[in-house]
């Protein structure tokens, strides 16, 4: 097949395979460097994707509508009216998986054993059961059953602290939207364990109707109305669209990065440090590749001298050597993408258990990080990382390419 190539490319292609072992070593360096970079980036992106997904499903989605001032100073008197109509409107937008309404507020939970300040989240159990990771983490009892009943689910640490068991009663006390102290009695329906101190010790869920009573909110109101999207990348477009809808205009419309700044901040920081690490790794790999290409050019001085002597223009000789580097780079990158993607696909299907590598559970912004990591790669990431290594390898080959025709012909032929 390569015999059909134009003469210049044919010489380059065959020259590439003249020192088969060296070419294979160089190809392997490019391929494994790229595969490793793709796998590491994929692993990190998998962690981020899971963290974001867990967080947005537990909270109010990829895009949240709330009172304009709520984000600056969350308080139960800063709420959204007509959440039902708003959600019906949102559900007509293409790409919306589901919507949810939450009533959030600070409260005190009290038992004869003590009192603890907690974050109360009023939810619609039917929606949460399908969307939220918390509903799947009930260790004792059951998840919430109705939209209004006096029931509560609490974390294991809180249950231990207040000596609560499933079926026991406790009092939820809070200042309502009018500043009145409200106390409501409810019964523990379930105990969850999310393996984070914040959630297990200081977070409870109650039916949304119960939460409205505790915080003195009108029917059909919510502190947050959220949208979960099939494609998270459409969140900015959906947020822009929502902001224009009548009935939403005037409220604050935010993507998850603004609602969950700890998580977006962590991802930004971790991604940056990952890129630095990847950069160092890539630099080391590329230095080896540069060295190999350079050596292969330097030891072919006599061959290049002959080519120049018989009339090959220096630019043509450089083009020949550049094509060799290009072929090697292309092959290495294609192989690297295949190997890296195969590795990512394998662990995406089977999961990579990181719990053996870390002694303690980890949480970001109160959201526990899953220890079974499933790497994730998008064509964009493959293109970006692959393109970067391809381009840098090619740029690195420019010096040897230039050097190939920069020889004293009479000297090398002597």
């Amino acid at each position: 097949m390569f015999d059909a190539l134009p003469p210049l490319a044919r010489v380059s292609w065959r020259s590439l395979w003249r020192n088969r072992r060296r070419t294979i070593i160089t190809l392997s360096s490019i391929a494994f460097g790229l595969a490793l970079a793709l796998f590491m980036v994929g692993l990190a992106e998998g962690v981020y994707a899971k963290l974001i997904d867990d967080a947005i499903r537990l909270q109010s989605g990829h895009v949240t509508v709330m009172h304009r001032k709520y984000l600056d100073a969350p308080a139960s008197d800063l709420f959204v009216r007509n959440s039902g109509a708003m959600r019906r409107m949102m559900e007509k937008i293409p790409g919306v998986e589901r919507t949810k309404a939450l009533v959030m507020g600070q409260a005190l939970v009290k038992t004869p054993s003590g009192a603890v300040g907690v974050m109360v989240m009023g939810v619609e159990p039917a929606v949460e059961r399908a969307a939220s990771p918390l509903a799947k983490k009930i260790r004792q009892g059951k998840y919430l059953s109705s939209n209004n009943g006096p029931e509560i689910i609490i974390g294991q640490a809180l249950a231990d602290r207040l000596r609560l068991r499933v079926g026991k009663k406790l009092v939820v006390a809070a200042n309502d939207a009018n500043g009145q102290m409200i106390e409501e009695l409810c019964r523990v329906r379930g105990i969850f364990r999310m393996d984070t101190d914040e959630l297990d010790g200081y977070f409870v869920q109650v039916p949304i109707g119960f939460a409205r009573r505790v915080f003195g909110l009108p029917r059909d109101s919510a502190t947050e109305v959220g949208v979960i999207l099939h494609d998270p990348d459409t969140r900015h477009a959906v947020a822009d669209l929502l902001a224009q809808l009548p009935g939403i205009k005037g409220y604050g419309v935010h993507t998850w990065e603004k609602v969950l700044p700890e998580i977006s901040g962590y991802i930004r920081l971790d991604r940056a440090s990952n890129w630095i690490f990847q950069g160092l790794l890539i630099f080391l790999v590329l230095f080896t590749i540069f060295n190999t290409i350079f050596m292969s050019v330097m030891e072919r001085g006599r061959e290049f001298g002959v080519l120049l002597a018989i009339g090959t223009a220096p630019m043509r000789l450089r083009a020949q050597v550049f094509l060799e580097a290009l072929f090697m780079d292309l092959l290495g990158c294609v192989l690297g993408i295949i190997i890296g993607s195969a590795g990512v696909l394998y662990f995406k299907l089977n999961g990579l258990d990181m719990s053996k590598m870390t002694k303690s559970e980890m949480s970001i912004g109160g959201i526990g990080m899953e220890m079974i990591v499933r790497p994730a790669l998008t064509p964009g990431i493959v293109g970006w990382v692959g393109g970067l290594i391809f381009a840098v390898t090619l740029i690195l080959s420019l010096y040897p390419v230039w050097k190939s025709a920069k020889i004293n012909v009479a000297e090398v032929l002597r």
Binding site: P7, V306, A309, I310, A313, A410, L413
Partner: protein, 229 residues
């Protein structure tokens, strides 16, 4: 041979190194090579044969003097212009054959024609005819490693003469082959000189080569010591 000059050297000198290490490789060479000539350049090692060949072939530049190739001063030509000159007008035959190892015999032979932009059909016709002339028919698809030394040198000869150059410079072309093969190669080049009018300049120590020459130049210590016809 005709009276037309292919190459004319006037007062050409070449120095290497500097200070105490200064070597005068060529000292004021005056020389004319005529079209159709079949010349040997003999002399002991270090006499300046290869340096003179390199300077005539535009691979090296003289320290002083002037070189005209087909009436054009090439002394101050740019690297690219010299490269073009070599491609169009000069053929090279090396002692170690110096074929491109990744190209077949045919591809090696047509390499300079490819550089010249000769169409594939014409290349094929020219090289096939020359392969027949030099006894390489049937070996077109062999790589250099699959050819004997004599066969490789024949391919190198075809590569040198296929573009119809004004001058072929051959640096000890028989040094790496046995005397029978060397004799056959010289017969071949003499035939090409006779029939196609190709001008040859050989640097050699080999009496066999010197015996076939119509003109013999002897160099010693960078100077022409003898020039006989």
């Amino acid at each position: 041979m005709t009276d037309k000059h292919v190459v004319q050297l006037s007062g050409v000198s070449k120095d290497y190194g500097e200070g105490a290490g200064l070597v005068h490789a060529l000292k004021g060479i005056d020389l004319e090579l005529h079209a159709g000539d079949f010349i040997t350049l003999a002399g002991p090692s270090g006499s300046g044969k290869s340096t003179l060949l390199n300077i005539i072939g535009g691979l090296d530049r003289p320290t002083a003097g002037r070189i005209e190739f087909e009436g054009v001063d090439i002394t101050r030509m740019t690297g690219s212009a010299l490269s073009r000159l070599r491609k169009e007008r000069i053929g090279f035959i090396f002692q170690a054959y110096n074929l491109i190892p990744v190209l077949t015999a045919f591809e090696n032979a047509e390499y300079v024609l490819v550089l010249q932009g000769i169409p594939a059909a014409e290349r094929r016709a020219r090289i096939s005819a020359l392969f027949n002339d030099v006894g390489l028919a049937g070996l077109e698809d062999r790589f250099p490693r699959e050819l004997s030394g004599g066969q490789q040198q024949r391919v190198a000869i075809v590569r040198a003469i296929a573009p119809a150059p004004a001058l072929v410079l051959a640096d000890e072309p028989t040094a790496n082959v046995d005397s029978t093969t060397g004799g056959a190669l010289m017969d071949l080049m003499a035939k090409l000189n006779r029939e196609k009018g190709v001008t040859f300049l050989f640097s050699t120590h080999d009496p066999l080569v010197m015996g076939r020459a119509r003109r013999r130049i002897v160099l010693k210590d960078g100077r022409i010591e003898g020039d006989t016809r």
